[in-house]
C-alpha cells in the first residue's frame, strides 16, 4: 500500500471533498426528509413547523383518492414489469450479440444503447408522441391493419402497460451493457469445452454462461429494480399520474403531495416509505454481493 504524505489521515483528506459534497447535497437532504415527515410543513410554512408525529403517515395511508393500496399496487406492477422486460430484453440481446463478431457487436451495441443516454423526460415526450391518439406511430400502424385508434394513455386499463413498454425501452440498455461486459469476461475455455462436448448454444447458456455471470446479473437486476422504483421524469412527462391516478406510483404521489398540493409533510412521509423500500433493496444487494464474493475467494 502507499504511504501518504499525511500518514494515516491522507485517504480521509482525499475523501474530504467528495464526502462533503455528498453529505450536503445527498445525505443531508434524505435526513431532512425524515425530519419533515413528522411535521406539518407546507409550502407556505417551511420554518418553525409544528410537530405532528405520525399524522402524515396516517393521512397518507388512509387517503382514498388514490388509495394507498392502489399506489403500492401500481408501483409494484410498474416496477416488476420494467424489471422483467429490461432483464429479458437486455440479457437476451447480450447473449445473442455474444455470438457475433466483435465489429458487428460493437456497432449494434452502439445503436441499442442510444436510449440509455437520452433524458428520461425526452423519452417521455417521445413515447407520448408514439401513443398520441391522433398522430402517434402506434395508432397509425394499427390503422394500417384496420384497427381503430386506441387511447393508450387515457384509457384507465391500458395506461400503465403503455408506460411499462416505454420504461423498458429506456432501461434495457443498462442491463445490456452490464451483462455484455460480464459475458466478455467469461473464460472462453469453458465455452469451448461445452462446444467440444457437443452441447447446443442454448444448453451452454443455461448450464455454463448464466451461472458464470450470476453476480453481475444480480447487480443488473438490482439496478433495473431500483431505477424502476424511482422512475419519475418519464411518468411525469407522459401521464402525470393519470388517468385518474391509474399510473400514480409512489414517486408521482410524492411529487403531487409536495409540489402540486403544497403539503411538504405528507410528501416527505411518502418519501420516507419509498426510501425505506429502496434502502432495503440496497442492503439486500450488499448482502448478496458479499455472499457471491465469498464464493469466489
Amino acid at each position: 500500500m502507499v504511504r501518504g504524505a499525511f500518514g494515516r489521515a491522507t485517504p480521509w483528506l482525499l475523501l474530504a471533498l467528495p464526502l462533503l459534497v455528498m453529505f450536503l447535497f445527498l445525505f443531508l437532504p434524505y435526513l431532512l426528509t425524515f425530519f419533515y415527515s413528522t411535521t406539518g410543513a407546507t409550502i407556505g410554512r417551511l420554518f418553525n413547523v409544528p410537530q405532528v408525529g405520525l399524522k402524515n403517515f396516517q393521512t397518507v395511508l388512509s387517503e382514498d383518492a388514490p388509495s394507498f393500496i392502489s399506489v403500492i399496487a401500481i408501483t409494484a406492477i410498474f416496477t416488476m414489469g420494467t424489471l422483467l422486460g429490461s432483464l429479458a430484453l437486455g440479457t437476451g440481446l447480450a447473449l445473442a450479440l455474444h455470438t457475433v463478431s466483435a465489429g458487428v457487436r460493437s456497432a449494434l451495441l452502439a445503436v441499442y444503447l442510444i436510449p440509455w443516454v437520452i433524458s428520461a423526460v425526452i423519452i417521455g415526450y417521445t413515447w407520448r408522441l408514439i401513443y398520441d391518439p391522433a398522430i402517434g406511430l402506434a395508432n397509425s400502424v394499427l390503422g394500417m391493419v384496420g384497427i381503430g385508434p386506441v387511447d393508450w394513455l387515457t384509457e384507465q386499463g391500458i395506461a400503465l402497460s403503455a408506460l411499462v413498454v416505454a420504461n423498458v425501452w429506456a432501461g434495457y440498455g443498462i442491463v445490456l451493457l452490464v451483462v455484455s461486459g460480464a459475458l466478455a469476461n467469461v473464460p472462453p475455455n469453458i465455452i469451448l469445452a461445452g462446444q467440444v462436448d457437443g452441447a447446443s448454444y442454448a444448453r451452454i447458456v443455461r448450464r455454463v454462461i448464466l451461472p458464470a455471470i450470476r453476480p453481475t446479473f444480480l447487480l443488473a437486476a438490482l439496478v433495473a429494480l431500483v431505477s424502476g422504483l424511482n422512475t419519475f421524469d418519464l411518468i411525469y412527462a407522459m401521464t402525470r399520474g393519470g388517468p385518474l391516478y391509474h399510473t400514480e406510483t409512489m414517486a408521482l404521489e410524492m411529487y403531487r403531495l409536495t409540489a402540486t398540493k403544497g403539503n411538504i409533510g405528507q410528501g416527505a412521509a411518502v418519501t420516507v416509505i419509498l426510501f425505506t423500500i429502496s434502502l432495503a433493496l440496497a442492503v439486500g444487494y450488499v448482502l448478496i454481493w458479499r455472499r457471491e464474493n465469498r464464493k469466489w475467494t
Binding site: 480521509w12 453529505f23 445525505f27 443531508l28 435526513l31 431532512l32 425530519f35 411535521t39 407546507t42 409550502i43 407556505g44 410554512r45 417551511l46 420554518f47 418553525n48 413547523v49 383518492a65 387511447d151 387515457t154 384507465q156 401521464t239 393519470g242 388517468p243 385518474l244 402540486t260 398540493k261 403544497g262
Partner: protein, 448 residues
Amino acid sequence: MNKRLLALLSVMVIVGGACSPAATQAPAATGGAASQPAATTAQESATITVWARNYTVEEGRIQPWAPDPKSAFEAAHPGVTVNLAEGVGSTDQFNRIELSRAGAVEDKPDIFQLDNIWLGQFVDEGITANLDSYYANWADKSDIVPAYANSTIVKGSQNAVWFYSDIRLMVWNKDVFKAAGLDPEKGPATWDELFADAAAIKAKVPGVSPVEFPASSEESTVDRFYSYLYMTGSNILNADNTKAAFNDAGGQKALQLYVDLVKQGYTPKAVLGETADDNIAHVFSGKAGIMLATVGDGLGSLPDGFDVTKFQSTIGAALPPLCTGCQPASTAGGWMLAINADSPNKDLAWDYITRVTDGKNMVPFEVDRTRIPVRTSGLAEADAFKADPYFAQEAEAAKVAHFPPFIAKYTDMIEILWTGMQKAINGDLSTKDALDEAATKVDTLLAP
C-alpha cells in the same frame, strides 16, 4: 468517530434550520423599517414591486399597469419607481406568494395579484395588509359594482381591491354544428336540447367529442361546474360556510348531468384527465362540439391564427343551458390586488392600486382580454366592449353570477369536491353516494 461527528452535524443543521424563522424574517423587517417613508416627500426613493399574472404584463398587449398609471404615479412621486416583475401563471403565482411569506425567496412584492378564491386563505395566513383605513377615505369606493363591493371583506375587514372579473358562458364550435345539421347561431338553451344536439353531433360528425367539461384533479373542474350547481338552486356551502350544501337534490341533479353525458357517450371519459384549457383548445380546433362552461366567451384564449372575425364565425356563446324549473346562473371569477402585510410602502402601493383599478383605465385591458369590469364607470363604456361579439351575453351572465365562498380552506375543500365528482363520473360510486361522501369530508374539514 467520524460517524458520530456526522450525526452531530446533521442534527445541528436540522435543528438550526427548523428554528430559524426569526433569522430569515428579521432582515426584511428591519430593512423595511429603515426605508418606511414618514410622508411623501420629494426626496424619497423607493421601489414598488408588483407581482402580476403573466398575461397582464405581456409585451405587445394592452396592460392595465402601464404606461399611463405607471407614468402618472411616478410623476406624482418623484424617486419612486414601479417594478413590474416577471409575470407567471396561476399556480406559480400562488406558490411564489406563499414562498415569499415563508421567507424562502428573497423577492418580496409590495403588491400582488391574487385569484379571488385565494383571498380567504391569504387573509387567514396574514399575508394581506388590512385596507380598512384606505377604503374609509376612498372616493372611488362607490364606483365598485355592488355585487363585488363587499366580497373583499373577510373577517370583518377589507383586504383586497377587485381588479377585473370574468363570468362563465357555454361555447360551441359553429363548424361542428353545421356539419351536424344544427343551426350554428343557436346553442342549446335547455338540457334536453343539449342532449339532442349532442346526439346529432355524435351521429353525423365522427371523431368529434360532442360535449366536454373539465374533470381532472384541479381547480377548473369545480369552477366550470358551479354554474350548473347554482342554476338548480343548490349551493356549495350553507349560509355561514360551516357545512357542505352541494349534496342536496339540486347538487345531485347537476352532477347527474355530467354522469349522464359520459354514460351516453356524449362526453369521453378522457375528460377525467383534461383541464379547462384542454377543453377550450379542443373546441377551437374542432375536436369538440360544445364546452359546458368557459371563462367569458373564450375570446381571452385565442390560439394563433385567430382574429376576432374568425373567432366570431367559428365560436358561438350563450348562457349555460337550463334545466326545467331552474334559474339562469353563472359563476363569477376574477382577480384582486392586495398589499403585502410586510410591505414598507403601503401608502404608495395603495396609491398605485387606485390608479390602476380606476374604471376608465381598466376598460381597454378588459376589452382586449374579454373580462368584465367591476366598476360601474367601466360597465358604462358599453361601446368599447362592442369589440367582443358576445359582450351582451356576458353582461347578462354577470347579472346572475354567484361567487364561490372565500374561506380559508377553499383549496382543500375543492379537492374533496372534485374527487367526489370524479368518482361519480368514473362510475365508482353513485352520484348521491359520491356527493354525500364528499359532503361528510367537507363538514369535517370546516368544523372548528
